[in-house]
């Protein structure tokens, strides 16, 4: 993503003059429509939402300023704290699970195996299906098939649906979220692995490096940038988890699997519109902070993007 060097050959004086001078009017015509629609449908709603987070607006009628009272109330709200705790914990666990599995599969597929293209095609299927539909399918498996199986083999703890168990329901959400997001990470890792020159492995195996040593010393450092991209995009996606929870538990049992996105949406029906806008603003700031933090940490370790 480096900028191409401007051609300095004498043959291109027209282009150079144009690019350094005033842009033609038509250039604005290319860009401004996108900016306008984007501003109207994304930026303005975001700003309006942040504005209302400082008020007592309920979604209609009159309102007055509350200052930071919505934000201080958020801090003391156990329901909100639980939602953040659940969402952050879920995102961290899922990103680790999904990245490890995706990397292992990508390495496996990069070796000389039979049917590599066919297997890769199968592994990517979850990427093209709808999360909510997949969650409904898994919902049946978790609430009917798994208990029936557990009863048959005498595994008592699993004889009840794990979706109804406040301590285990989150596991089901991790499984389905990972199932759906592994293909994307897998493809990134596959691209990363093919960019590693094969001689490196040959040379190191001549040095006597085993597969684990090769993984630690060659593969991992050279695909670190890809790991970082996958982790940032993954965390951002998992923090917004909604569809899969709706399809599996609906946030239950109780509020055990209620994500931040679900609590925000509750603001539209629950009458605490402005309060949930404050929640949304905090959520946005946290999302950005986590992404920036990941970038800074990786810069510090000299990982090249």
């Amino acid at each position: 993503m480096t900028t191409t060097t401007a051609p300095t050959t004498p043959a291109a004086p027209v282009g150079r003059r144009r690019r350094h001078g005033r842009p033609e009017p038509i250039a604005y015509l290319f860009l401004v429509p996108a900016l306008l629609v984007f501003t109207a449908f994304v930026v303005v709603p975001a700003l309006v939402g942040i504005f209302y987070s400082f008020t007592d607006y309920v979604g209609f009628g009159n309102w007055s300023f509350l200052g930071l009272r919505n934000y201080t109330a958020l801090l003391g709200d156990p329901g909100i704290r639980e939602a953040y705790g659940f969402t952050l914990g879920f995102a961290v666990v899922t990103v680790v699970v999904a990245q490890v599995i995706a990397l292992v599969l990508a390495i496996g597929l990069s070796k000389r195996i039979r049917f590599a293209a066919g297997l890769r095609a199968i592994f990517v299927i979850p990427m093209v299906v709808s999360g909510i539909v997949v969650a409904y399918v898994f919902n049946y498996l978790f609430s009917n098939t798994l208990p029936a199986f557990a009863t048959a083999v005498g595994l008592d703890p699993l004889s009840q649906s794990i979706l109804g168990n406040p301590d285990l329901a989150w596991l089901a959400i991790v499984v389905v979220s990972a199932w759906q997001t592994i293909p994307g990470a897998l493809l990134v890792y596959t691209a990363g692995l093919t960019s590693i020159p094969h001689d490196l492995y040959e040379a190191s195996s001549l040095d006597g490096a085993g597969p684990w040593r090769q993984f630690r010393s060659i593969t991992l450092p050279l695909i670190a940038g890809f790991v970082l991209i996958n982790t940032i995009l993954g965390i951002k996606g998992y923090l917004g988890v909604y569809d899969i929870i709706v399809g599996l538990t609906g946030g239950g049992p109780g509020n055990a699997t209620s994500s931040v996105a679900m609590t925000i949406f509750g603001g539209f029906t629950g009458g605490d519109y402005a309060y949930q806008m404050a929640n949304a603003t905090v959520f946005f700031v946290i999302t950005v902070l986590i992404s920036v933090l990941q970038l800074v940490v990786s810069r510090g370790r000299n990982i090249r993007l």
């Binding site: 199968i122 994307g184 909604y242």
Partner: protein, 300 residues
Amino acid sequence: MTATATAVAPERRAPAPSGDRRRRPDRTRRTGWPLTVALALCSLTVLAPLYVTVTMAFKTSEQSVDGNAFALPAPFNPASFAEAWQLTRFPVSFGISVGVAALTVALTLLLSSLASYAIVRYWSHRFFRWSFVYLLASMFLPFPVIALTEIKLTALTGLDNPLGVAILHAMFQLAFSVLLFSAYLRSIPVELEESARIDGATTWQVFWRIILPLLGPMIATVGIFAFLASWNDFMLPSMIVSDPTLQVLPVVQNIFQSQFGTNYNVAFASYLMAMAPTIVVYLIAQRWVISGITQGAVKS
């Protein structure tokens, strides 16, 4: 990996027969099978839920409640599809989904390719550079953050319908698509345009006749991402569309959640009809889809 490596090499390689370059296919084939089997077993985690969806769809209501999802349908009962077809008003919801996804793809491609071209060609100009940052900043804006104001906005402007969903889907693809297009455009040399300009072509003509054809692979990538994001989305349409008879395919599947219990076979027939189109298209075009997705994922 230093010079000593070559010195050590002969001893390390000693057990292998000489001329191992030619022997390599044999050796890799021998070591390849266990890994192939292991990966094939892993692929069952993908295939099993799909297999369950197919078999469940062909079962009777009585058989579908016994929990044994992996059993084959006995007796074979295709009638569930007719019921699912009517309950979800499949032709309508399918048509709306196709329309929303098509409009999302068209809007995304048009807006982001034009904007990216202007940004890259006038990068030296402050307005264009800042516009790029402005658009890209939204990459970190999750939809839940603006969902509540978005619901009000679409209701006020009469866009609480599939058209509004398509516009919003396109907006949320914009940052990523501009990023992909501009990265690709930077690799296209300006000289290509300049000869056309000397022949008197306008910027408009240069874009349509020269730049757009060169953007081909990236258009496929951006289009695939926009299509999948729009086609499979549940959150945004379920919030925005106020008239339930105008809902998209993923959202109408929720009718099987309210009437709980006995109609699993009908529900799965409906899930299968919702999943099958993309899976079939993907399997036919998987080489292009995979290379398209890979390009997008790596360029970002």
